[in-house]
């Protein structure tokens, strides 16, 4: 029985269920110091002086650093961006000259206990000449650091992309639809805050940082470069990671500071972020304003689309560089033909926490914008919301579909897709006509209920390559070392299933080792829904190479022709005989000649594009203006499913996060730039009472032709269209097409719209 496509229980769960997980805060070393970050209390100002004299007197304090003490550390560089000219906007590890957001690291205290470090940090006095905070990204850019960098404005870059003849589209248009839309500021907020333990081995001058996540190999190189060390003198090690969602594992000031301090202070250094810090220091995300002009044919076909959008990226340009804007711009057209398209994406800075990627970065936002537009076109032309989509979806005959633009350095080419077919399947699955009729009936009876949908295209499997090594132990255990990373998504189980499927062995024999830079020289980590596609394909290739190696060894041991041995289900067998050896026996017999091992590399120049539809049913409580989500369905084609239970888990969890951004979560600031959501009492994440039952329709109708498994990523599509579908459903419930123009749809906002 194939191991792929089965809902087997996860390999990784037992430790997590019994309290034996090893998260960053669970790690300790003898004589460790505890680091506490002193953060700016104001949003914008000239940093005059940091007075740490009182703090230094606190018993147990070993050192206090400000920017002057780490003058040798450069700014934190971009991990992935091709846009140049943004270098001056990178963040320093500790504020220099100016502070630009509440929460910016100004100093660090190292003490013998975390309590002492926190006591001392509270006594560090920051003398700051406050400047008026700049908080509106839509306002004209202002000076980034007025006195020290005059002339440098808070617009680091504007991205431009286009395809087709836009002027011709507008000349031909029967109607022009214009919209302005906004998505609020929210982010991943994993339940585990950030943390690190850095240990220096003085004998070899090697620093190891535990608590790594997401991109350990990249961060290893970046930390080595910042510390001026050869790359093999820095190791990153990932333990359990309490959720990633795009924000965790990026290189932040604190990571660099712990490594630098461990080396310089000669003691292990541990840093664990608290929740208040997390909400004002870890990457924010979203927060975009879209202005759209659409040229429409009489039948509702979208001839051309002209878009300007602004991303509020906060105080500095962090590791993601222009990634969010780049993805927003390139993927906004989604599943529709749109022959002519032009977009300008403005990256703007404000005095808020810096922003980066969050699950489905740029797609959650641009899907909201595009699907709002589709609803607006339907209303303008007088057709229903499904029909407008049918008329604009890319037909199967045009797949593969080349958008004629690129993103993340690869051309946007939809590799496979049956977009009309999936819409028809969803209609049948939910019984659309009956459902719509029952909603109409309830509405006639006075209830404010409605349906809404959002169609989306996701992207996954970012290259350029992934490499794994596989070795069979004499006891038959198979160990796979990969440079991928786990953020709690179940990669060990999914990767073991792919290997088990190729080799015809039990998953219980397979161990996946990930996130350890000391064990494998290359690795891309876990982001952009890349692991199942890239690492999974590499594992399949390695498994096939392992079978070839087993056959080579078997032929030699049996002293027969290579052609007369065959592999099946963990054994090499000599044709028409009862002579056979298991993988364990082969590994054992060949131990002195190097054992039984293989390597596999998968390269890909293009991403693969899964797609899906969200359907929401909501009820507005007219008394409280609360939006109650009654039912939620996600149809998602991911080409091929490795583990249906895990895929559903990804979708349902992502929907819950999407509901947070659509209805509740918002980083508000007061007019001085003080963040108003720095606890879970103010930053409202959905609980079990807010998340409805989520139904999934997972399809494998359009396998990817560009990887050996046919898979596409499953991790993000559950969130992508939540904002779009909820907005559409709230419009419908209110009987006011186009009412919802911004997220989150909070009760006060909804009350104002309904008034």
């Amino acid at each position: 029985m194939s191991a792929i496509g089965r809902s087997i229980r996860r390999i990784e769960d037992r430790a997590l269920l019994t309290g034996n997980g090893r998260f960053a805060a669970d790690l300790n070393r003898e004589h460790q110091l505890h680091m506490r970050v002193v953060r700016s209390p104001v949003a914008f100002g000239r940093l005059v002086e940091v007075d740490a004299s009182d703090a230094a007197d606190v018993p147990g304090v070993e050192a206090i650093w400000t920017a002057a003490d780490i003058a040798e550390l450069p700014q934190i560089d971009f991990r992935m961006t091709k846009i140049t000219g943004m270098e001056p906007y990178r963040q320093w590890c500790l504020a220099k000259d100016y502070v630009r957001y509440v929460g910016e690291p100004v100093a660090v205290v190292f003490a013998n206990s975390p309590y002492a470090a926190e006591d001392a940090a509270e006594l560090v006095f920051c003398d700051i000449d406050e400047v008026d905070a700049h908080l509106e990204a839509t306002a004209e850019p202002v000076a980034f650091m007025p006195e020290t960098m005059p002339g440098l404005l808070t617009e680091p870059a504007v991205l431009h992309k286009s395809c087709g003849d836009l002027d011709a589209a507008f000349a031909e248009a029967a109607e022009v639809v214009e919209l302005e839309l906004k998505v609020g500021r929210h982010t991943g907020v994993p339940l585990e805050t950030r943390g690190a333990l850095a240990v220096h081995d003085a004998a070899t001058d090697t620093v190891t940082m535990y608590g790594a996540a997401k991109v350990p190999h990249y961060n290893r190189g970046a930390i080595a470069a910042m510390l001026g060390l050869a790359i093999d003198r820095v190791h990153l090690s990932e333990g359990h990671v309490g959720g990633g969602f795009g924000i965790r594992g990026e290189l932040y000031p604190e990571d660099v500071l712990t490594c630098h301090a461990a080396r310089r202070l000669g003691r292990p250094v541990k840093w664990i972020e608290d929740r208040k810090e997390h909400l004002m220091a870890a990457n924010h995300s979203r927060d975009q304003v879209y202005r759209m002009r659409a040229a429409i044919a009489p039948d509702g076909f979208l001839l051309g689309l002209d878009v300007t959008f602004i991303t509020d990226q906060g105080a500095y340009v962090r590791t993601h560089g222009a990634t969010v804007s780049d993805l927003s711009a390139a993927l906004l057209p989604g599943p529709y033909v749109i022959p002519a398209y032009r977009v300008a994406g403005h990256i703007r800075l404000t005095n808020k926490t810096p922003a980066g990627t969050y699950r489905a970065p740029g797609r959650y936002e641009s899907t909201f914008a595009r699907e709002r537009l589709m609803d607006a076109i339907a209303a303008r032309v007088g057709i229903d919301r499904l029909e407008v989509r049918r008329r604009n979806l890319i037909p199967e005959s045009r797949i593969p579909f080349d958008r004629g633009m690129d993103t993340l350095g690869t051309g946007v080419v939809y590799d496979s897709g049956r977009y009309h077919d999936l819409l028809a399947r969803l209609e049948a699955h939910v019984g659309w006509e009956e459902l719509a009729a029952s909603i109409a009936e309830r509405r006639a009876a006075g209830e404010m209920v409605g349906l809404g949908l959002g169609y989306f295209i996701e992207k996954s499997g970012l290259g350029p390559e992934d490499m794994v090594r596989m070795r069979v132990a004499p006891d038959g255990g198979i160990r796979i070392i990969t440079g991928a990373a786990s953020v709690g998504q179940g990669i060990e189980t999914a990767m073991a299933q792919i290997c088990a499927d190729s080799l015809g062995v039990d998953t219980a024999r397979i161990a996946i080792v990930h996130g350890q830079t000391s064990l494998i020289e290359k690795g891309m980590g876990a982001f952009a829904s890349r692991v199942t596609v890239m690492t999974g394909s590499a594992i399949k290739i390695a498994s096939e190479a392992l079978i070839e190696a087993a056959l080579d060894i078997g032929a030699k041991l049996f002293q027969v022709d290579r052609a007369s041995v065959a592999y099946k289900a963990g054994e090499v067998r000599v044709a028409s005989s009862d002579r056979a050896m298991s993988l364990a026996q082969l590994a054992s017999a060949w131990a002195e000649q190097g054992g039984l091992a293989a390597e596999g590399t998968f390269r890909s120049d293009h991403m693969t594009y899964p797609y899906g539809i969200h359907l929401a049913q909501v009820r507005i409580d007219p008394g409280t203006c609360d939006v109650l989500v009654e039912r939620y369905t996600v149809a998602y084609d991911i080409g091929r499913v490795i583990n249906p239970m895990l895929v559903e888990g990804q979708i349902v969890g992502a929907v819950a996060q999407g509901l947070g951004g659509a209805l509740y979560e918002n980083f508000e600031y007061d007019e001085a730039g003080q963040p108003l959501a720095t606890s879970f009492a103010d930053y409202l994440m959905p609980t079990a009472l807010e998340v409805p039952e989520v139904f999934t329709l997972v399809r494998e109708d359009a396998p990817s032709p560009i990887n050996p498994l046919g898979v596409k990523g499953a991790g993000e599509g559950g969130i992508t269209a939540v904002g779009a579908a909820i907005a559409s459903a709230v419009d419908d419930a209110a009987g006011r097409p186009g009412m919802v123009t911004r997220l989150p749809i909070t009760p006060d906002r909804l009350h104002a719209w309904l008034a």
Partner: protein, 163 residues
């Protein structure tokens, strides 16, 4: 603030002699002084529930209780759930079977929350289970499989009691 008090904590039936500052919270004492890192700290202000333990059988946010207040009580943590031979508690088993966890960080809190509640009321309805589960935050699962797991465990535990 560095003066300490000597206390004894009874955790999972085992006694731990500690010397702690009066301000040290129970979560930190369990983790740092008892070496029981299965209890996780997710927010330190009593909202997320990752640090939930049982104190005299009742679910408590251990980040909101001082260690010194827990002296003389019986504390239960996730480490005490499975039997000594490694057999999982029905709730642990159900979370595993129903995929009730992803990153696993919030899991010990949900397990302890449900253990306490099901002990008090083995006949919980689905509505009561949803109310209960809404006490804690999970950022990965969307709660669906946590609800399913608690339901399944409740049924197994009730059958076990009746049988």
């Amino acid at each position: 603030m560095t003066e300490t008090r000597d206390i004894t904590l009874d955790v999972n039936g085992k006694r731990h002699a500690l010397s702690v500052e009066p301000r040290k919270n129970l979560a930190d004492a369990l983790r740092d002084d008892c070496g029981l890192t299965g209890t996780h700290v997710g927010c330190e202000h009593g909202v997320c529930g990752a640090c939930t333990v049982l104190v005299d059988g009742r679910a408590v946010r251990s980040c909101l209780m001082f260690a010194v207040q827990a002296e003389g009580t019986a504390i239960e943590t996730v480490e005490g759930l499975a039997s000594e031979d490694g057999e999982l508690h029905p709730l642990q088993q159900a979370f595993w079977d129903k995929h009730g966890l992803q990153c696993g960080f919030c899991t010990p809190g949900f397990l302890m929350l449900a253990v306490g509640a099901l002990r008090e009321n083995p006949e919980m309805t689905d509505v009561e289970i949803r109310e209960l589960v809404s006490s804690n935050l999970c950022r990965c699962t969307g709660y669906q499989n946590i609800l399913t797991a608690v339901r399944a465990a409740a049924d197994v535990m009730r059958a076990g009691t009746n049988g």
